[in-house]
């Protein structure tokens, strides 16, 4: 727990008051208020769709507020573009990484403000040198000259952070920077953040992980439904209170794990190999079991899951579902066998953002909804309505575009879409990444219910508490190899972290 260092609160660096923003019919922000002070790390928390990112984008000048006041360094400001806010000394790390895949990491960091020589020629050496220094400070191991295409989400996020740091800004806004990161990177990021705070900069930190908020921040502001709820010093608040303010009700325990009777093997992966990504991966998941795939980011867990489901090819090995061997590289076939994958990147892989909620939910079961060769919207809506209601998706109508939903609500739609296929084996990749506590505990309860109904569940998660709280067994992946297979009892944080960082088989 770090207490705010400055005894006398400095003059606010940035003040938002009663800020509102809506997109056509959707009210994203009703009255957002926020006060950032130099030398402080300020947490902003709230449910999915509370309006956090919208507030951030208004600060950045990407959106223009419909109402309210916005003061920066005591002056009322009105940023028209992100360039203006950048120029004024506000650096923003957005929730979704925004890199140019074809350009080198270095160019990405400096795009638009490259150091120049005579005749406006770009000084490539200077750029590279600075990036190398930055990466060293952040402990990032990415080749500054490689294109960012193909970087893992984690690596992308790290580049984003480096980019923001390099701006040397007075105000640094971070919208869920840790969502894709795991222990090591998070610690490094926090180190840098604290250093910046001590230099007297103002930081805004958005996260759904309370341990992080309490570990890093000194002040916390809560939002709900686009409205300002409260601001308090971390020292004099508690998780329960924050949760109540966020959700508007008490949340019963986060990991409602109920041990279900374990049945026979439903998913069996044998010697699965994809050169360059993972090697000789073998494991099995039984009915009623929740098996976690733990490990550091970049270990290759998502790749294993993707290959097993068939969206990625693999070079060797077999995948068997309920005794039937799957033909590789064919998701449709896998689905017919009762296999489902809730992917890691919901915006690109999970949901069709330009498509309505109903179309999204029924995309996986469209064949089943077809009657006499005809598929109607009526049929789709009927089936989608049920699912939307079951998950309390926050939207006015079934043709609301998935792209306009908040992260959490998008995730709900994606989960619904896959449960609609009535799978026997469910693979979930980072099921609660960027999801608020309320929804999170719902998802957890949902997972153990499903296990209780005899589904076999393979859960990939970078959140250790989640892994330990939910899993019956923990498989640890390190650099594309399974290095441990731990029972619920064996699975202590130490054991998992050890296996996640060492090649040797610790258990079995």
């Amino acid at each position: 727990m770090t207490a705010p260092p400055a005894a006398t609160p400095a003059a606010p660096a940035l003040v938002l008051d009663g800020v509102a923003k809506s997109f056509g019919p959707v009210v994203a922000l009703r009255s957002g208020s926020l006060t950032l002070r130099p030398g402080s790390i300020h947490a902003l928390i709230g449910e999915n769709g509370a309006g956090k990112s919208t507030l951030v984008k208004i600060i950045a000048g990407l959106y223009q507020r419909d109402a309210g006041t916005f003061e920066y360094l005591g002056e009322p400001v009105d940023f028209g573009t992100t360039a203006e806010s950048k120029g004024a000394g506000i650096a923003v790390i957005y929730q979704e990484p925004t890199l140019f895949p074809d350009l080198s990491v270095t160019e990405n960091v400096f795009m638009g403000r490259q150091p120049t020589l005579s005749l406006g020629r770009i000084d490539k050496r200077a750029m590279r040198a600075e990036v190398v220094a930055l990466f060293e400070q952040l402990g990032v191991h990415v080749d500054p000259d490689r294109p960012t295409r193909g970087l893992s989400i984690a690596d992308q996020q790290l580049v984003e952070i480096a980019k923001a740091m390099s701006l040397d800004a007075k105000v640094l806004v971070m919208d869920e920077p840790t969502a894709a990161l795991s222990g090591v990177e998070v610690e490094r990021l926090f180190g840098v953040a604290r250093a910046l705070r001590d230099e007297g900069r103002a930081l805004l930190f958005i996260s759904h992980r309370f341990d992080e908020v309490f570990d890093l921040c000194d002040t916390v502001t809560v939002m709900r439904d686009g409205e300002y709820i409260s601001t308090s010093a971390i020292a004099d608040t508690t998780v329960d209170r924050l949760v109540r303010e966020m959700v508007g009700r008490d949340v019963t325990d986060l990991f409602p794990k109920t041990v279900a009777p374990v049945g026979d093997v439903l998913l069996e992966v044998e010697g699965l190999t994809r050169t360059g990504v993972f090697h000789d991966v073998s494991f099995e998941v039984r009915a009623g079991e929740i098996v976690a795939l733990a490990g550091l980011v970049g270990a290759g867990r998502s790749e294993i899951a993707r290959a097993a489901f068939g969206v990625d090819p693999y070079d060797a090995g077999t995948v068997t579902v309920a005794g039937r061997r799957l033909a590789g590289g064919d998701p449709a076939a896998a689905m017919r066998q009762g296999l489902a994958l809730i992917p890691e990147d919901r915006r690109r892989q999970g949901a069709v953002l330009d498509s309505g909620i109903a179309r999204n939910v029924t995309l996986t079961i469209r064949d089943r909804l077809t009657r006499a060769g005809v598929l109607t919207s009526a049929a789709e809506n009927a089936s989608a309505r049920e699912w939307a209601a079951r998950f309390e998706v926050r939207a006015p109508s079934l043709d609301t575009l998935a792209g306009t939903l908040s992260g959490g609500n998008q995730q709900k739609v994606v989960i619904a879409k896959w449960l609609a296929t009535e799978p026997r084996v469910l693979i979930v990749d980072e099921p609660t990444r960027g999801i608020d506590v309320g929804t999170k505990s719902e998802v957890h309860r949902l997972l153990s219910d499903l296990a209780g109904q005899g589904l076999a569940i393979l859960m990939i998660s970078s959140e250790l508490p989640e892994v330990l709280g939910m899993a019956d067994r923990v498989l640890v992946v390190h650099e594309g190899r399974i290095t441990a297979n731990l029972t619920r009892e064996e699975a202590t944080p130490e054991a998992v972290m050890y296996a996640a960082t060492h090649d040797v088989e610790v258990a079995r």
Binding site: G18, V27, L398
Partner: protein, 374 residues
């Protein structure tokens, strides 16, 4: 799987659609084009001599039939976010093949069937290069545009094959008894129904839209992206070959340079019909109206002795307007919203939501209430 997964704390209710039915039906790009079509015909009927005669419609249909045919599969292709610029060359190729095979002594029907098969193969080549080799269709079909045209011209050289069996020629050009409508339109209508069903009322069609909106998400959802596109390119080639046979029969002459440049007319019709070039949005009746609109204007202007070139200017302008107008509207609306917002921003007592959003506000409110209840 039992539906007891999540016992909902509240049963939230959803409207099916944000806008009432008539709005969704009528306030669309497609309908705008249909309206324009009706407007043009109405105006020309009174203002242009000889337009209001039934023969006008016969010629109109004969002129646009080929474009209509090709526009059907092209719409599906473009909805997936791809494009096929080689269609006009396939028309030429199939025309030449029909001619040469027929001249070689095959019965016309057989020659035509072989030509259609060749069209399917041509489409398959495009599809293979796009889906299996993974090349951008714009580049690929610019290549096959030249390739297929070259084959057509090369096969026939200077000669143009003529004198096809009148029985067949009449089959496409003769009017349906009692109407000014030429027989070929029957084929157009049948295919329009088939493709309309395929695009709007089948799982396959849903897949097409999903691919156009997010290739990756579609792939993750078990949509067979490659196979779908391959099928569409094959359909595109096949129908183009069909159009080639129509061309041959209508003009009674098989030439390598038949339908040169037709691909742009087709694309123009499809885009004018409100299909997004980026894929993911569009409806089949739009392109049909678009093709007819261009044809009707052309015929009206020719009748008014306006030179052919004005038609191009108008087509081009329409095309631009059809894409610009929505964003202009959106821009105007946002401007209004901003101004309203700013005004309220001034006086402090305006934290509460504006009447304009009351409706949505209540939706959001109801939800939180629900959560507070238990």
């Amino acid at each position: 799987m039992a539906s007891t997964t999540l016992t909902p704390t509240t049963s939230r209710t959803y409207r099916d659609f944000q806008r009432p039915r008539w709005q969704r039906m009528l306030l669309t790009r497609e309908m705008a084009v249909v309206a324009a079509l009706i407007g043009v015909i109405a105006f020309a009927s009174v203002a242009v001599d000889n337009f209001a005669s039934s023969i006008t419609y016969t010629y109109l249909f004969l002129d646009v039939a080929a474009i209509l045919l090709i526009a059907l599969p092209m719409t599906l292709v473009i909805v997936t976010g791809e494009i096929d610029l080689s269609v006009a060359s396939v028309v030429g190729l199939s025309s030449v093949l029909t001619g040469t095979l027929y001249q070689a002594g095959l019965p016309f029907a057989v020659a035509a069937l072989l030509a259609i098969a060749a069209g399917a193969v041509a489409g398959a080549i495009n599809g293979f290069l796009v889906t299996v080799v993974g090349l951008p269709s714009l580049a690929v079909t610019i290549g096959t545009l030249a390739l297929f045209r070259g084959l057509a011209v090369g096969l026939l050289g200077t000669t143009a094959i003529t004198d096809f069996p009148d029985s067949w020629r009449d089959l496409v050009t003769n009017k349906i008894p009692g109407t000014p409508v030429p027989a070929i339109i029957v084929l157009v209508v049948v295919l329009a129904i088939v493709f309309g069903w395929l695009l709007h009322f089948t799982p396959f069609g849903r897949g097409i839209f999903a691919i156009g909106q997010s290739k990756e998400a579609a792939h993750f959802s078990g949509v067979r992206v490659g196979r779908t596109k391959l099928i569409l390119f094959i359909l595109s080639g096949t129908v183009a070959a069909l159009a080639g046979i129509y061309y041959t029969l209508r003009y009674g002459s098989a030439r390598g340079d038949n339908a040169t440049g037709l691909e742009l007319s087709v694309v123009a019709a499809v885009l004018l019909g409100g299909v997004s070039i980026f894929g993911g949005r569009g409806a089949l009746h739009g392109p049909i109206a678009g093709a007819l609109l261009i044809g009707a204007m052309a015929s009206a202007l020719r009748l008014a002795s306006v030179t052919s070139d004005v038609i191009n200017v108008i087509t081009g302008t329409l095309l631009i307007l059809s894409v610009v107008s929505p964003s202009l509207l959106a821009w105007a609306q946002s401007r209004r919203a901003r101004r309203r917002g700013k005004k309220e921003g001034e006086d402090p007592a305006s934290a509460d939501p504006r009447p304009a959003q009351a409706a949505d506000a209540t939706v959001a409110r109801r939800s939180t209430m629900g959560e507070e209840e238990q």
